[in-house]
């Protein structure tokens, strides 16, 4: 059973548009939700993260919207740039500082100039 699901599998937007990446989860004990970004040829790096005490987390052009009741969250990238083209992984974790992250399959984002 896939604990963390992401959709769409791939997404193409034009430069300047808002890209919306979706994520849902099964385990209600998850209490930390990071998004990692993977550029081709590089290693994944933390982009932004949220805890269920908040329903929104913003960092520049990146915003996480979180719906605890529906066990869903989404990453919005406003004013998308070609340099945002990458694979975005939603992940979830129970407990602090365990690093036992469960990752989704990722969404491949392509931003056309």
């Amino acid at each position: 059973q896939q604990q963390v699901r992401q959709s769409p599998q791939s997404l193409t937007v034009w430069e300047g548009e808002t890209a919306i990446l979706n994520c849902s989860y099964e385990d209600s004990t998850f209490d930390y939700f990071p998004w990692y970004r993977l550029f081709p040829g590089e290693s994944p790096a933390l982009l932004i993260a949220i805890r269920p005490v908040s329903n929104k987390k913003e960092d520049g052009r990146f915003t996480i919207f979180f719906n605890k009741r529906e066990k869903k969250l989404s990453l919005h990238i406003t004013d998308s740039q070609p340099g945002d083209s990458a694979t975005y992984f939603c992940a979830a974790q129970t407990g602090a500082n365990t690093g036992k992250l469960t990752f989704g399959h990722g969404t491949i984002l392509r931003v056309h100039p």
Partner: protein, 113 residues
Amino acid sequence: AQTIHQWPVAEIKAVGSPLSLGCTIKGKSSPNLYWYWQATGGTLQQLFYSITVGQVESVVQLNLSASRPKDDQFILSTEKLLLSHSGFYLCACSDRTSGNTLYFGEGSRLIVV
């Protein structure tokens, strides 16, 4: 800042041959260490994690083993490779100062033929 060095960068190995992948962390004291595996186009699957020297916990059974001979070293190995072992292997670390953030190495690409 920590640095995570993985070796080898890439390998092509025959089915049934042994494998050893290494990971060395510099700049962190007593880190938590993790091995992740990504099949082509797949999600990041946690394989092992270790919170201290000599202690390794298996998360997924893939006919692989891991050891932590030193505080800053994590080794992934098997005596007999399978075709299904092909993929991208990532070493990661975290510690109390980084909270839940995982820092990934640059990975080792393995092709089993």
